[in-house]
């Protein structure tokens, strides 16, 4: 309930209302969110495909992480900022949206996957397998998980817009539970 009240307070702030009712700002924020997704996921896909040994096989993995990932970091920061703003514009509905919740869980999983990959012992020994077309199993798994997760994140993010399971209509009990509907 505390969280619900906090979100209600957030929704009533002039900034939230302003963004929610804006003529241009909301569209711009939304566009930035999808544009940066294209850069971020686009490049991440190719790193993942490299880890899976599917493409860019002649390129050392370190070249991709050192020269391509910095671009993805910029894109990621913009994605997060714009995403937070989108949430902030419509806090209550978004918070209670099952697709948003799914997306949040998947984002955490993707972040964990990346963290494990970059901080694992195998990555520290990158020099040993940097030039291999066939990477260690852990690297392949990281790449595969990343691909699957980001596809799922894109899907769940797109579905947030639809009102199929919104709390302002009667919903089956399981949806009420998952969405945390306050009735």
């Amino acid at each position: 309930m505390i969280l619900h009240n906090l979100l209600q307070w957030m929704a009533d702030t002039p900034w939230s209302v302003g963004l929610h009712e804006s003529r241009y700002a909301y569209s711009i924020v939304e566009s930035v969110h999808v544009w940066t997704l294209c850069i971020f996921v686009g490049f991440a896909v190719f790193l993942d495909l490299r880890l899976l040994g599917v493409t860019l096989k002649g390129v050392p993995v370190s070249q991709i992480t050192e020269r391509i990932l910095p671009w993805t970091k910029v894109a990621f920061v913009l994605m997060v900022i714009s995403g937070v703003l989108l949430f902030f514009a419509i806090p209550l509905r978004t918070y209670h949206n099952v697709f948003f919740r799914l997306k949040a869980v998947l984002l955490i999983a993707a972040a964990l996957n990346a963290w494990v990959f970059h901080n694992g012992g195998m990555y520290r020994r990158l020099a040993e397998w940097d030039n291999d077309a066939v990477t260690p199993r852990a690297a392949k798994l990281a790449g595969a998980f990343s691909l699957a997760l980001w596809v799922a994140i894109i899907f769940s993010g797109r579905m947030i817009a639809y009102n199929w399971f919104d709390c302002d209509k009667p919903e089956p009990a399981v949806i009420d539970l998952l969405a945390g509907c306050v009735r």
Binding site: S27, S31, V34, W35, L37, C38, I39, V41, G42, F43, A44, V45, F46, L49, T55, L56, K57, G58, V59, Q63, I64, R67, I68, W71, W150, V151, I154, F155, R158, M159, A161, Y162, W164
Partner: protein
């Protein structure tokens, strides 16, 4: 003019099926977005290299060869998902200036990518000066961005 064809396309069974369904349009659209990420990565990897950024140590020809199947596959995937989306609302597209801009830019981008850009990339550093590589890379980015902007403005025309 073309309007009767667009009306017929919209009235066809695919368009009908998508309009009748609650989830088909969003689902196909999400796939379209995924395809977009793949095309984005495939295009930008090579265009960045042409601009002298990103994977600079790799010969541009090698990158172009690696990225090409993904560019082709990605574009085919986007056309494959884009056509049903179009069929669901063909008449709206007909009247949309943004839609025609997008289609023209798409045709130009595809032609450019598989003629000029391909030849320049495969010829490589030995035969093409950095200046012309940058021109080609910048042109490619401009063309594909126009496809994107056109697509974006369909919804706001």
């Amino acid at each position: 003019m073309l309007l009767p064809y667009f009306q017929a396309l919209e009235a066809g069974s695919i368009g009908e099926a998508i309009r009748d369904s609650t989830w088909l349009f969003p689902f196909i659209e999400a796939f379209h977005l995924v395809g977009l990420a793949v095309v984005g990565g495939a295009v930008l990897l090579v265009d960045f290299r042409l601009l002298g950024l990103g994977l600079r140590r790799q010969p541009v020809a090698e990158l172009a060869r690696d990225a090409q199947p993904w560019l082709i596959g990605g574009v085919l995937f986007m056309i494959g998902s884009g056509v049903p989306l179009f069929l669901a609302e063909a008449i709206k597209c007909y009247y949309s200036f943004a839609f025609w801009t997008k289609m023209a830019a798409l045709a130009l981008a595809i032609i450019f990518s598989f003629t000029v850009r391909r030849r320049v990339a495969l010829a490589g550093e030995a035969r093409v000066t950095p200046f012309w590589m940058r021109v080609v890379g910048a042109t490619s980015i401009l063309l594909w961005s126009t496809v994107g902007w056109g697509g974006r403005w369909i919804g706001f025309s």
